[in-house]
Structure formats: structure tokens, C-alpha cells
Symmetry: C2
Subunit: 493 residues, 2 copies
């Protein structure tokens, strides 16, 4: 084994972000003749890591918390010197070069507020030992705070949250990794569409997993408020969670609220659930690891993040159906399908719910169509009797126009169920056609429920067609079977 | 009510596509002073429709099946004349103007084969009365046939399919709306990724719904073979379905087969299921409306298209886990999480399966971590003990490198479970980092199962990150909870 040279350099009283430092140190470690490189703030834990890595010399051993240590081991003195020079160059490079940052970065909260007086939130990510003082400055200036920093003593957290509550300000964190406020992602957060599900989370990745599963299954997020991982501990008492419930409860854009946390202290769980019980909105409670507290009637306890997303999505779809019912009530379902097998699948779903129906293409157990029948009817408009000498309704939705207008005007009909099929061969804008028919229908008309058979790659675009239908008051389910289940719920509440 | 003028013009022995005609007729009907316009082939059914619409005069009444009728009603003679002139102009416009079509369109099968001798499939969509003759020409030239045309007598279908079978050619249809062969969409079909699920469908929209649900939930399609709606009737005997099973059974790119149909004739159902039982591949059978026949052990009967897609996806994921097990067998699970709540959720899923585990951040019921513990361990690498003075593993996946390599080399470990979190703040390519670590791991190593918390809108791209992991032999589940369930199945088969 060849000999090694260890050199250290210490910069007193400066602060660098640990991520930037780690990236720089990996660059230096990759240099010719360099064995290992550590660039870290001189905390006891970091000095121990560097000692274990064999890069610490006396210079670095004497560093303090606020000092930056540059520690290099190399095969030759020349390589060590070159590594130190390279590290200096990286550290002294203009900010933009290191981070690709903006032209002007305020260095104090005072300067940031002066630069943008309309700002109402400060994101604080300095090391834990400095974070509380910065948060207090922000709160004093009337700013809500998201504190990304961790390693803040719990007593400091309690004091900050109490002070924030007195000022009517939201204190997210410390150790708040994720928030999405008014569509703006803060910290670790994903690009999710806006919607009417609000999330309150003591956990960053909990918020991320739930918001992504909601987004990837057709839903959207109003706000996601992080509280920090200790908010539901007895010492903190859920201050931020309770304020977040107040905020989302009063937010007209939020119609369902998901709360995610590890199991709270029993007293805190009771306080949170009592506040939930006072809300008219429905809740999904995901205390990972469970709770023994009874749930209020407007809340459902789920065991996993996956189940939380599923419950919130299901409730959102059901609520959408209730909301979009324009006043036309009726107990019969009229299904008008372009897809014959979608019509058959709908009959299967009705039958499995114990409901009889009639169809021009009845499956075993369904009734044949009869003009005098007052029950549920599911019509396949693509069947030969409708398409002989005329185009198929998937190609030319105009052939569905007359039966659709008739169903929308028929007394006793509560739900009109239709399918929308995209892809090659299909009409260029089937959703647009349905929207144009609805605009000519009498008002109020029965609820219209649909699903869109298609993919993001289809020429018509799945999300674009879904959005067009939703904007016109149509409820869009994630599959044909889900659309039928929703229709059944709606006619037999 | 004002008087109306009705004028008809007939073009003998020409054929126009019904969709093109319907679009033209709607354009004409929108003209000044025009009441209604029908442009249709002169079949008895179409003449009845035009008679009912009040646009048929003696000229049109005398038209034959192969004649085109242009039928206009208008408020004035001038408007009627203008409408006829406009219809003539549309009909006589160059082909490209009507359909945006290609420069050269062969008008016969002989000419088409001459133009592209490598072609091995003919798509036939002429009217039913002409379709069988065209199909026979194609089969005689050694072409497989997809017949989009409907209204073909069942005796013709039987004769064509028997002839095709003798030639070893596939006869899809008549009334075959949808197929996807080698990634090429034919007829009504959606843009779906390629994958290892094959579909055989008597129904076009059935294939579309199942293939879209598979695509929208992370799966892909090898081929989708349409058979036509009557293939499983007693007269036809499932000729095309049985040949399609032979083809997909022998196709190395197909690992799971979904069969979709309305309830077959009992004899045909038995023949199809007997052929399924002779295959080593797993099947999902979706006879919409059910069957009383018993299922072979390699097939599962489902009631809906939605359930068919769900079953095929679940089986695909489970098979992927088996396939990607490289030879390292073990009964213990090692979870290495960047997301603390994902680690906690994993513990919940293990507990609900009755499995004990140890963690550095145990939920109630889990054990604390101990160096001597031989059971399942789930580690939160984002916990303070790992991140003090170092970046969080979501920002800098390098901190997961050493524990990941250790777990991959640990005797007795059967599954390594990891999370991948995308979004703002996260590493630019966490999947790439995992792939680079796996390339340096000892071979064979335990199965690696993951899920990617992210969306299509995230800077890293959800599908790109998933694809990178899959290509490196990692099994990618659709959620963290699903990943844990799969890991449990894998260690306790």
C-alpha cells in the first residue's frame, strides 16, 4: 500500500449548504492522485466521520461547529495541493456557478422582505442551531414560516409555534420537508395538478406519496401543509396541525382533507379528532401505526398512505357526483354506449349490485328492451340496428345526439351514463361533441357520468378530454366499471 | 311552416366511405336555406333513413346498393341547387383534400401487394356485401386479414375462417374493430406502450378498455388480436381465438394472455379452455356475462374488463419478481428507505401480513434494531442518526450506497426493498444512481424491489425513472405499499 498525505484547511465562521459541500467533495475526490476528500462543517459528528475516513489532521480536529473543514488525503503532496486548490476554486466561485442560482439572492430576511414586500412566507433551511433565530425574525415581520431545518430542540419548536399562533401565522416545521401552498412546491415536493383534496402531513414523504398517488389516479391537491414530524407529540400538542385544519376547513377550494402522521400522543389525537368532528368536510385519517381513538363520523381511519390516497379519490368522485347533480332527480339510469362491450360490462356491474336492467344487447340475466319499460336501460348504439348504413358512434358521435338529448329530457331519469372512446379511428374530439350537446339540453338535466377509454399518447389526449368533460359538469370516473358503480350509488343513495 | 324543395342526384356504381359521406352531408346541411341533406349509399336501410328524414325523391328511391344518393331538402330551389353543386364539389375534390391521405393509394389488393411485397396483412373495410370477396383475394395472396367490415353473413365468416386456417393465416373479423400487431394499431386502437401482456378479444372496445387500463397503470401490450364478435359462437367454433392462442402461446414476447368475449357457446368455451389448459402461460378469462365452465389452473375468470386489467397487471408484477430473481435466495427482507414515512408504511404492511420486523424508527409493534437480529429490517436512512452533518439520502443518494451494497451481499437476504422519491429538491437522477450501485454489486444478488414516488410532471420524469430501474433488473411496483406486498410474497412463497 502506498503512503498517503493528509492535508486540512479550515475556514472560520462561514456556512455552506451540506449538499453543495458533498457535491464539491465528490468532485475533488475524483481528481488524479486523490484518495478521499471531505468538505464539511466542523461539528463533532462530521469530525468523527472525517476521522473515520482518515482525512482529518490537526487543523481539522480543532475546527468548531461554525467552521468549514476541507480535508484531503492523497498519494502525493502535489496531488494534495492540487486538490486543495481545486476546493478553494469551487468554494470561491460566484454563487451562480455553484448552484445556477438567481441574479440577486437576499442574504437576510430583512433584505428579502424589502426586495418583495408582498411575500408572506419564509422558507428557512439554515442549520438547526441558527434556524430558530431566523424563524423568529420572519414571524416578527408577519411572515408564515416553513422551516426545512432539522436538529432544532423541541423546546424551541414549542416556543416558536406558540409565538406563531399568537400572531395568527403558520409555523410549518422544524423538519418540514414538504409543502405545496397555492400550487407552489416548497422543499421536497412533486408536480401535482391542483384539485380539491387538501393534505396535512407531519411527514414529507408521506405527503409526497399520497399526493403522487392522487395525481397519478386523476385527482389534484388544493394545498399540502407540512407540520414537522413532532407536531403531534405531547410537548407540541398539534399546534400546527390544528391551525392547518382551521385553514383548510375555511378554504373553499378544499373539499376533502387528508391528515398523515405517525401515531400522535393520545391527548393530541383526541384534540385533533375533536377539531375534525367540528368540521363539515370529510376527512381521511392516516396515523401510520394506528390509534385507538374512535373516529368522528366525517372521518375514516386508513392504515397506509396508499389507502389514504384511494379513500380521498373515491370520496372526491362521489362528492363530485352529488355536487354536479343540477336538481333533476330521478331513480332510473339511461346508458348510451358507443362501445358494445362497455355496455355489456355495465350490465355485469348492475347485475352484481342486484339491479335489473334492459338492453338491446342483453347479457344473460338482462331483459330485452321494451318501449314500455320504466327501469334502467343500457343501449349499445354501435349495434347493427343503429349502424346499418350509418357510421359507428365512435367515429361520428353525432349519431348519439338525438338519444342523448332524449335521455337528458326524460322524466324519472337520474343518471345518464355514457362512454367516451379515444384512439386512432375514433372522432377527433368526442368530449367536445358531448359538451356541445349538453349546452343544448334542457336545464336542469340528469347527472351525466362517463369514463374515457384512452391514454396520454392518444391523438385526442386523455387528460384534455377528461378536463373538457369535467368543465361541462360531467363526472369522469377512472374506468367504465367505476362509472357504473358511481351511477348505481347515485340512483340508490 | 314554409314549403320545401327536395332534390336527389344518384351516382351509379361508385363507393364512398360512410364516415366521409356523413361529414360531407353535415357540411352541406349547414348551408344557407338548406333544411336537411343525406349523402348515403343506396341500401334499403339507408333509403328508409332518408325517406324518414323527408329528403328522398323518386331519383333516390330507385337507387341500388352500389349507388350513391345525394338527397337535399331546402327552402328554395336556388338553395337546393347550390347544395347539390356544393355536394358535387366535395365528392369530386382530389382525395388528399377529402381525407388528407397519402400520395398513392392502391385501389386493389393486387396493386397493394405489388406496391409493397413485404406486406403480410390486409385491412379490409369495404361494405359487408363486398368484404368477403376482398378477404378471399387477400388470403389467396398469403395475407393475414383484419376485416373491419360488418354485416357479413355468418356462413361467409365460417367459410373464410376455415379457408384462412387451412392456409395458416389469421382471419381477424368480420366486425373486428381493434387490433394492435407488433405495436401497430389497426382500426380503433389506442397508443399503448409495448409490454408482455397479450390480448385476444372478440370485442373492439373490450380490447381498448383493457389495454388502456393496463397502459395507464404501468403495463404494456405485446399484441392485441381481434377475432370479431361471433368467433365464439357455435357456428364459427372459435377458429380465430384458438389460432390467436397458438400465436401468443408461441410468442416469447407474450408472458400473460387476456381473453375477452361475450359468453361463448358452451362447446366453444370448453374447446378454448382446453387449449388454455395446454399452455404454460397464465391467462385472464373475461367472458362478460360469465360462464359455468370450470377454469384450468393457469386461468382466472374475472367479471369485468376492469378486473381483467387488474389481474393481468398484478400477475405481471409477480412474474417479473420471479423472473428477476437472479439466483440469490434468502428469506429475509432488507428495507433501505430515504423516506421515513415510507419506512413506517412498510412496517404497517408487514405487520398486517403477520410479519415481525425491526427498524431504527420502529412503529408500535415493530422491534428496535439490534446488530444480532436475523429477521426482516426496515431502515430509515433519513433519520437524524444518519443525516447529522450529512445530506439527506433524497438529495444525495450516495449516502445509501454503502448500506445498499452491504444488503446486496448479505447472506440470507432474499429481497432488498428501496424507495425512490422524485420531485423538486430530490436528486436529479436517483434511479441512475441505484443502477450504478447495482452494476458494482456482487452477482447474483438478492431481488431488488422498489416504487417511484413521483409524477409525469416531475423534473426527473416518472416513466423515465421507472424504465431505467426496470432495465437494470429492478422490479418497480406502482406504490410503496404494493412494493412491500410483493416483497412479502417473494420471501414467503
Amino acid at each position: 500500500m502506498s503512503s498517503s498525505i493528509v492535508v486540512n484547511e479550515v475556514r472560520r465562521g462561514v456556512y455552506f449548504d451540506s449538499v453543495a459541500l458533498m457535491r464539491m467533495s465528490r468532485t475533488i475526490a475524483g481528481g488524479d492522485g486523490v484518495i478521499e476528500c471531505g468538505m464539511m462543517m466542523g461539528t463533532p459528528a462530521n469530525r468523527r466521520i472525517m476521522e473515520d475516513a482518515g482525512v482529518l489532521a490537526d487543523g481539522g480536529r480543532g475546527a468548531a461547529n461554525g467552521d468549514l473543514v476541507i480535508a484531503v488525503s492523497a498519494h502525493t503532496q502535489a496531488a494534495a495541493d492540487a486538490a486543495l486548490a481545486a476546493a478553494r476554486a469551487l468554494l470561491d466561485a460566484p454563487k451562480a456557478q455553484k448552484s445556477g442560482g438567481a441574479a440577486y439572492t437576499p442574504r437576510t430576511i430583512r433584505a428579502a422582505v424589502a426586495a418583495d414586500p408582498a411575500a408572506n412566507l419564509a422558507l428557512i433551511s439554515v442549520p438547526g442551531v441558527f434556524a430558530a433565530a431566523e424563524a423568529r425574525k420572519a414571524l416578527n415581520r408577519g411572515l408564515n414560516v416553513m422551516m426545512f431545518s432539522d436538529n432544532v430542540p423541541i423546546a424551541e419548536e414549542v416556543a416558536l409555534k406558540q409565538f406563531a399562533r399568537e400572531q395568527g401565522l403558520l409555523m410549518m416545521g422544524p423538519d418540514c420537508g414538504t409543502a405545496i401552498i397555492n400550487g407552489t412546491a416548497l422543499g421536497f415536493a412533486n408536480v401535482v395538478p391542483r384539485g380539491d383534496i387538501g393534505i396535512i402531513g407531519a411527514s414529507g414523504t408521506g405527503i409526497q406519496e399520497v399526493s403522487c398517488l392522487i395525481a397519478n389516479n386523476g385527482g389534484g391537491i388544493s394545498h399540502a401543509i407540512g407540520t414537522g414530524g413532532r407536531d403531534l407529540k405531547a410537548e407540541v400538542g398539534g399546534i400546527t396541525t390544528l391551525m392547518a385544519i382551521d385553514l383548510l376547513d375555511g378554504d373553499p377550494g378544499t373539499r376533502h382533507i387528508v391528515i398523515i402522521s405517525k401515531p400522535p400522543a393520545p391527548d393530541v389525537a383526541r384534540a385533533v379528532l375533536a377539531r375534525v368532528a367540528n368540521s363539515v368536510k370529510p376527512y381521511t385519517i392516516c396515523f401510520i401505526g394506528g390509534t385507538d381513538e374512535p373516529m368522528p363520523s366525517n372521518a375514516k381511519m386508513v392504515a397506509t398512505l396508499e389507502a389514504a390516497a384511494g379513500h380521498a379519490l373515491k370520496q372526491t368522485l362521489e362528492r363530485e357526483a352529488v355536487t354536479k347533480t343540477g336538481g333533476a332527480a330521478g331513480k332510473f339510469m339511461r346508458g348510451l354506449f358507443a362501445g358494445g362491450t362497455l355496455c355489456a360490462e355495465a350490465q355485469v356491474v348492475l347485475a352484481s349490485a342486484g339491479l335489473a336492467c334492459a338492453s338491446n344487447v342483453p347479457i344473460p340475466g338482462s331483459l330485452p328492451l321494451s318501449a314500455s319499460l320504466p327501469g334502467h336501460t343500457l343501449i349499445d348504439l354501435g349495434d347493427d340496428e343503429y349502424t346499418q348504413g350509418r357510421p359507428h358512434p365512435m367515429i361520428e358521435p353525432a349519431v348519439r345526439e338525438a338519444p342523448l338529448l332524449a335521455a337528458l329530457a326524460e322524466p324519472g331519469v337520474g343518471v345518464v351514463l355514457i362512454d367516451v372512446v379515444l384512439g386512432y379511428g375514433a372522432h377527433a374530439d368526442p368530449a367536445g361533441h358531448i359538451v356541445s350537446v349538453l349546452a343544448r339540453a334542457q336545464q336542469p338535466h340528469p347527472l351525466v357520468i362517463t369514463s374515457v377509454t384512452g391514454t396520454a399518447g392518444d391523438p385526442q389526449g386523455l387528460t384534455q378530454q377528461q378536463a373538457k368533460l369535467r368543465a361541462a359538469g360531467v363526472v369522469v370516473a377512472p374506468s367504465n366499471a367505476a362509472a357504473v358503480r358511481l351511477a348505481i350509488q347515485h340512483i340508490s343513495p
